[in-house]
């Protein structure tokens, strides 16, 4: 198997363009790694080996003919199994859609195709993206490459695990309450939750149309920037996608952090941290200070309320979407998802609309308290060490309910505000599992948080740490 260990996504793309390595070699190496890791990690729901190898050969032929290459030409990716590709099954991690064949291709996949990327597989995910832990009763739980008895985080579980184990160079995920940031943090990779309205959701499975966002998970910040640039921007197929062009993140992410202000919250986000995660968070803030950022303390208002409001919006919209199936095929849902859907039927319509009406007020209030003083805010993603699968499953003991609620405590308010947030690896807890921090930005300021994250990444090596070697891997720096 070709050793791709020296490359990140951007480096591999350059090597393929320079014809130092072929798209076929890269694809074969990643497919072999995905297949070898499948019994242990269960990252894949569907392999697309034949199509991927044919596309890789076409990519190599195009280069040989001197045809122009896109920025992701020949780069092997795989995506959460909720982005539709015409003629392919998109299970959405569910029993109900186990045989659903898409009749259109998601805009984000069309854009990655146009950039030259290859799709090797559809990845495991929480059932209908409605769960933060990575449990899946229908296709089996996805496993954390750092410790397979621990959760991957969800709902983009396969995306986090596959990138962490260096099985592929990047993956798309979705984030409605933390579903990119949690698996990125818990699996030790980089993940970008985009601003609500920045990336088209056409052809992506809906969970909550007021909160859903799409974004990449990859090894490095510059990898995420490359995928983000390929997928972001206006789309006539999605009227919620902002009709304004996207700033070129790849041009600015190397600009460094000097002159930028990074806020550290004095409340809410740090309230439930353990001693060891507090220490890791403080160490990350020290890195930002050392490399030239001005650190300012802020007290973001209304976060408890925003967390509750986000819960109402998500619950009502998800239960509305799933109402027909719930009534007709209740037993085809797992117990976890069935319970979440049942709750959403019972919020009064007036409460739901109040939650949507209050959103602007909270965005203005949060902005005045945080972004009037800083270019971004640093916060943990998960306030405690990564729990085991058993601890977060039905019957997981007296702490299970609280643990599940705390999983999304730091991510939910960010979805309610529709803000962009970049998760970067920031160390390990005593149980050997990764710890990540999120860099939350102003609306549509993805290029700023990518720049801040890139400056941090250049000063640390957490993103270069690899899970135990027995997983088998073909990709990655």
């Amino acid at each position: 198997m070709t050793d791709l260990g020296e490359f990140d996504l951007v480096g591999l793309a350059a090597a393929i363009r320079a014809r130092k390595i072929s798209a076929r070699e890269a694809t074969e190496a990643c497919l072999a790694a995905l297949e070898a890791a499948q019994p242990r990690l269960n990252t894949v729901i569907r392999f697309d080996a034949e199509d991927a190898l044919a596309a890789a050969d076409a990519a190599d032929r195009a280069l040989a003919r001197g045809q122009p290459a896109g920025p992701l030409h020949g780069v092997p990716l795989a995506h959460k199994d909720m982005f539709y590709r015409k003629g392919k099954v998109a299970t959405c991690g569910s029993q109900i859609r186990r045989d659903f064949v898409a009749d259109k291709t998601a805009t984000v996949l069309q854009r990655l195709d146009a950039a030259g990327a290859l799709q090797l597989a559809a990845l495991n995910m929480a059932e209908f993206a409605y769960g933060p832990s990575g449990h899946n009763a229908h296709f089996g739980h996805c496993r954390n490459p750092w410790a397979p008895d621990h959760i991957t985080g969800g709902s983009s579980s396969g995306s986090g695990a596959a990138v962490a184990a260096r099985l592929v160079f990047g993956a798309l995920g979705s984030d409605t309450g933390g579903s990119i940031r949690l698996p990125a943090s818990i699996c030790g990779v980089t993940g970008l939750k985009t601003t609500y309205g920045r990336v088209s959701r056409a052809g992506a499975m809906p969970l909550s149309f007021s909160l859903d966002t799409v974004g990449p998970l990859a090894q490095t910040v510059r990898d995420c920037a490359a995928i983000y640039e390929a997928i972001a921007g206006p789309d006539p197929e999605d009227p919620t996608a902002l009709d304004l062009p996207v700033a070129a993140a790849a041009e600015t992410i190397e600009a460094g952090i000097k002159g930028l202000r990074v806020a550290v919250p004095t409340r809410y986000f740090l309230d439930d941290m353990s001693e060891e995660t507090s220490r890791l968070f403080a160490a990350a803030a020290d890195v930002f200070r050392r490399i030239g950022a001005e650190i300012v303390e802020v007290a973001p208002p209304g976060c408890e309320e925003m967390s509750a409001l986000a819960t109402i919006v998500l619950a009502v919209e998800a239960s509305t979407i799933h109402g027909k199936w719930y009534r007709e095929r209740k037993e085809d849902y797992s117990g976890q998802v069935r319970a979440r859907i049942e709750l959403g039927f019972h919020h009064p319509a007036t409460r739901y609309l109040e939650a949507l009406m209050l959103r602007a007020r909270h965005l203005d209030g949060f902005g005045a308290a945080v972004f009037a003083h800083a270019d971004a805010m640093l916060a943990p993603v998960l306030p405690f060490a990564v729990p085991t699968i058993a601890e977060t499953d039905v019957g997981g003991g007296p702490q299970m309910g609280r643990t599940m609620s705390l999983l999304t405590r730091c991510s939910r308010p960010v979805n309610y505000l529709g803000l962009p947030s970049l998760t970067v690896p920031a160390g390990f807890t005593a149980n050997g599992l990764p710890f990540g921090v999120q860099i939350v930005g102003r609306p549509f300021a993805e290029e700023t948080i990518l720049r801040i994250g890139r400056a941090y990444e250049r000063e640390t090596d957490w993103h270069k740490r690899r899970p135990p070697a027995e997983v088998g891997s073909g990709a990655g720096a």
Binding site: T195, Y196, G197, S210, L242, L244, E305, A308, L309, T311, I312, G323, Y326, R327, K330, A339, E342, L343, F345, H346, H347, P348, R351, L353, E354, A355, L356, M357, L358, R359, A360, R361, L363, D364, G367, F371, G418, R442, P443, F444, A445
Partner: protein, 68 residues
Amino acid sequence: MAGLSADTVQRYAREAQDIEISGERAATIAAAVEPLTGAARREAAKLAFESEPADFLRAQRRWLEAKR
């Protein structure tokens, strides 16, 4: 909806939503269905006459305009 009983949850589920909820689940739902505090609910009610959900998109746009 504070003080909602499990019986009410079950009846509403059956009659208005056409679904069946077990007694145990109904009790859990009754306890979880009103996550907002009284102050937040009063604030939300005050805004109702002068707000709409699209205000959020306008607020987003204002941040974008400020950036440019």
